[in-house]
Symmetry: D5
Subunit: 154 residues, 10 copies
């Protein structure tokens, strides 16, 4: 398992994946269905948020007719995030930060009240983005599911 | 409907609610059950993230034996967030920001892919914090459920 | 609907549009008149603030004798804003921020007073920039028109 | 005309005005109607964004049964803004900044295209916040109306 | 388990502990020996970095002749960190940040090389500060011992 | 001993080392064993955190079949850190900062209590990253070992 | 009047002007004399702080034997400032900021005292940099001359 | 000559001066005329930007019927500026920063062109704020007059 | 040796020292002469930059007729610096930062050239501020004298 | 005297000087001896902190066999500092900032006490970096020698 050293490598991989997707007219959902995987995880691997097992990387690359280099790159631990922790101005991204900006203290209070002193893991964790039909307009439903990690006392 | 003007008012209200909760040994969950409401919403109203209807505020205050001033304050629109958008150092709070820091671009990609150009509303929105039992340790499950808002084209 | 992945794509599109405009000596106003659209919306689509329907993109590109690639790019959701929320030093841009810096709290107070706890949507929203003749010098009139979104109580 | 020197003075004045408004159950709209003024301007004078003429200050104070000290304070030039130019986290305030974050370059382009090299004044300027009924929900309409100031060439 | 709501509470508790320590002339090491605990953990509980079990809090308070309120406060989850993630100017504190500033990428590379894509937990974690005699001057030896958390793939 | 002047030089050297490592399928641990050195130090020299003696640089380069230019570059003092002191968003790196964010004041208190007014040197210093097997999952053990430097009084 | 869209355009223009100046050995003062203009204004047009009329741009370009593209670029409204409002480290530039940092509140107090609630325009404005001989060393005299803009009351 | 140590001291002094000015209905201009001094310098001494000689401090205090403590405080070197170099949001103050933000590079170019490598001193320096009548509205004229300091070459 | 825990303690101590100095009309230089110490070190101990031995603290306090509490406080390790590393706006302080801002890279180059890879210690270090008479005006001479610390290679 | 306009020019010059130095195996000290100059000044001219007289630039270039372009560039006023005032993370550079961070207020107090209200000039100034042998390890001695500039009172 070798760490990434060239930031450009990964963005090149992403470009190839997105270009292939566009050419084939496939969504992450289509690909997920074909490889039997999860669309949010596939998008995460594409956007520098996750690394894949060899088998999953091969299946993913195969659907998109991509080569060995993509398979290799997808298995490496990415540099995650955008350098420093910063809040982006793009409104679609910003809302993911507005929620904890507003509701964070309440969420923290409930976690401590129901679980004790600790946190929701963001590593032993999965996220999903779903579309739920509503009569007045579809809803975006995002689920954060992380193991509770109690603070160790030693 | 009158805007809040004194930042201290609300924190005084919060102190009263938390002191009463502690004295009575009640959790937000206990209170929610008793008033027939939602624990995450009650915590949000307590921590400056939401305002309540008069009826809900009265029910909430009554359970905690709190007075008219609390009922009044709970109905006013709070100043939400902590001044500027900033990422907190407390690890329990920080994880709520680490998730979009890492997975944000993938989440944005999926929203655009499945809904088009737009965002998940953080206003026509609800959040819940739940405990899910797992054999290797309980999970914290946080759900963001917001209406999809497409960008208007004019 | 596929998300943008290469920041350069869009700026290339913008360059083509602006060069074509300059060559033809057309303003956004001229183009808007010709395609029967809104000049502020056309400028927004040019400057990464909006995506267009296929028909509108085709009409826009046609007036400027631009090709299929521009039509494709104009339909994709742009990455909006300049990375992080920041206040620019250019005086023409800065004034758009000085107004809420000075009048923001009063504007918020009025919104809460007249509408209740909620916000003006910046998504279900349109903006216009107009020139109004005045005896002592023309005025710039900017109108923000967004749906009121009340905070959900759940 | 004497500059403000104590930041607290003005906030004390604001507290008195808001308390009086709450006690009398009057909105800025009610007051504006009674004194024959503009509700947005009255809110601006309350929230450190404007100073008033002696007559206007007296009329405003009278409606609220406030004393000479309020009348004096309302005439002084306030320290405007919140110290440094910063973008607030409160969602209602944040949207006023999200608009120029997204649409600012397009707005600048149109101003230069239609007026030349210059800016919309934020001093020789007025702002209004209005409620417009729509079948699918009321709209918040905010209008910025400022004199165009061309850059001097010397 | 009730979340902390008043920042001052905890600092009051800390003041009491430190005053009692000073009066009794005891170090954290002395106390740790007496209660059979770990000095770094006791210091952590004092400086808002950890919460204690009821038994440990009672033993700690007893050694210092402190009351029930201290026992209660020590059990509550503290607000950890200093608000935003920031690097302090005090040289003793600064060096703890200079190390990852300089050696962080190498440490990350080794973790990925030897463990795979994941992190050292800072929750399922303990830290110790020790004094090691050296002929040319004592050494400060700080040990971070955290469970490796592999990124989940789903 | 000549200071580095071109930032690119060093990153070019790093690229060569990492490419050679990948090609040969060697980890820092493998190389350390072969040259009789320390894996954390070798990784530090690779990632701009340390300079090497001529002998060590030659041995390191030889194992990887790298040339004279790499040997030269490895001996020069690197520009250490990433420009300004900043906290990175990558979760693996971030945890190295979260520890002093949370435990820093306790660590400082213990250093002063046991050593007096001074600091742990980050220069007369070594760091190691180790893997310790645990029944419930391996641990990452990071050790900071620096000479205590007392503040001079003059 | 068309807005600038490529940041590089203008810097290319600046390079041409400065190279021509250097080659001809002319100062802004020499050029100003020759074209009958103001040296500070010419420097401002060169350094992205001003746009010129067609006639002035032609005269300026002619003196320096520069072509039509420079004439065109000099007429366009530049993007003014360096992105965000920031204070530069270059000591010559820094002093321009140190003055208002130290004397700003006194200057504001005098403006309000003598003119009322309003500002010195930085648009309907001119600046000059002059050299004044003094027995103990020449003085730099910088004059800011801007129209007073009173805040509108509406 | 003793340095200031309590930030509050000076602000207390300022409050006394401003209150006395307001009570007596005098402007800085009136006082300057009476003591035969400069209004901008008197305002600077009031707003923490300058210290006075004993004689000047006595004359200033006498006009305002202020006591010995004010005389003492006015002679001490103030802590100048607002902590860190920051750009304020108040529009009247902001314009003092907008000018160098826009024209700074041109001003620097002229200083180097006419004086050589060096700066305008902000210490061996005086500033004045004047009102100049113009047919279309009075002008604010601010003059910075500082000795040119050439960089020493050694 | 007990760490400081209350920030106010130290500032209270400083106030007492400075008030006593002012009352007695003594400078740090006078005191240093009387106690046989160094004026810069005494000022450092006063301004939170150094702790003293018991004997030195007693001698210092005695000259100023200060009590046991001051003696105790002066021996404790202070929290050094102003929270985060920041550059102050006060011009006298700012120049201490302008020097490394301008000359830092040259200073670093010389240290590496003459000593190798390492730093000037700021702990095993002393600073002095001296006045040197010059025909054209006295000079401030500041000397930083710190042990060279070579980076350890392990 | 023409201001620099291309940031790259100067870095190109620096690269040539450093490459020539490395090729010839000369230190700044060697060159200073040969041209009869000061090593710290030569390093400053190399690292964008100083400009040279024509004679000095020619002597410097000659020793290194560099051409006319280097001679020209060395005479131009450089853009000094790194853009904004920021504190660097490289430990060798950082220590130059840690000193005023810790000792700055004491240094300011002594300057005011011994010289009055004013500053140490950083322009009419020279800096030197020297190596002083000590039995327990060489010392780095850095001397700042600047003219005292008293604040003008007008």
């Amino acid at each position: 398992m070798i760490p990434r050293n060239e930031i450009n490598d990964k963005s090149e991989t992403r470009s190839k994946i997105l270009a292939a997707k566009e050419e084939k007219g496939m969504t992450f959902s289509d690909i997920a269905e074909q490889v039997g995987g999860d669309k949010t995880f596939l998008a995460s691997a594409t956007y520098d948020a996750a690394s894949m097992t060899k088998d999953d990387a091969m299946a993913f690359a195969e659907v998109l007719d991509l080569g060995r280099d993509v398979v290799e790159e997808l298995q490496k631990p990415p540099m995650k995030g955008q350098g420093e922790p910063t809040i982006p101005s793009d409104p679609c991204l910003y809302r993911f930060y507005e929620v904890p900006q507003v509701y964070g203290p309440a969420m923290k209070a409930l976690i401590h009240e129901e679980f004790g002193d600790g946190i929701m893991s963001a590593i032993d964790f999965e996220v999903s983005v779903d579309k739920e039909p509503h009569p007045e307009g579809d809803h975006v439903v995002i689920t954060y599911d992380g193991k509770f990690l109690p603070y160790k006392r030693w």
